[in-house]
Symmetry: C2
Subunit: 120 residues, 2 copies
DNA sequence: TACTTATTTGGCTATATTGCCAAATAAGTA
DNA sequence: TACTTATTTGGCAATATAGCCAAATAAGTA
């Protein structure tokens, strides 16, 4: 894997990581309904307001939300609609936990040994 | 937020977390092409084989992959096709980094103060 | 200016994740 | 049985993440 590939996968992981927390998923879902201030999101998730603020900066850093200041209030907005698609994807997977049928699929031909260390 | 809601969001986060690592994203993408043994995935990501094995157990634990043993070789398989949708979602977001136009949207009416602590 | 409201930042501790090595396990082969 | 191959597990150190409190910042109001 070259450095360019690595960069790409790191960017992907940054976005996934941003969504990899219960509070942040909740907030993204809520922001799908419209802009919300930090206070409103704080009531939603129930953590300390400083914690919520830090979660929001993670989402912002990943490019998922943006903020607009009005007086002393900061409104957070969903930047990319498709962030909501993630939640649909996840819930599909959760549903598949019970309904999914496993397809057994072997490689067509036996492969040569691929893991052995070279002899010295 | 009640305990049931919390449970749901934790399950969602478990799946997101499983995908929140460059190597694991790479492996999911590769498994989209067909079953692969641990060795093949190890060559793909370039980490120690024990590290790769642990990454795979994270994916398995989240219900994203399953494994089938053939002799000494373990073939990993994508369990849910829609795990690939995530990667499409992420790449859409990455593309939006440059092309996305911000829609400024304020709440229609000014809201009452919502954050102040009660006076004692 | 002093106070209030809303939010962010710094700092700290607790916890989780990552990645390597070494050892263990599992299954096939000489 | 001893050896080889493929993979998993245990253990450990390094790093990252989370969440709280206290303090700082920003903007409005009396």
């Amino acid at each position: 894997m070259n450095a360019l590939m690595s960069k790409k996968h790191q960017t992907r992981a940054l976005i996934m990581k941003a969504l990899a927390h219960p509070s942040r998923i909740m907030m993204i879902e809520e922001l799908g309904k419209g802009p919300r201030c930090v206070c409103e999101l704080q009531r939603l998730v129930g953590s300390d307001i400083s914690t919520v603020s830090k979660h929001l900066s993670v989402l912002k850093n990943a490019g998922l939300v943006y903020d607009i200041k009005q007086g002393t209030t900061v409104y957070y907005n969903l930047k990319v609609e498709c962030a909501l698609d993630f939640i649909v994807c996840v819930d599909k997977i959760i549903n598949s936990y019970t309904t999914n049928t496993v397809h057994i699929s072997f490689p067509e031909v036996p492969r040569a040994k691929c893991c052995a260390k070279l002899k010295q």
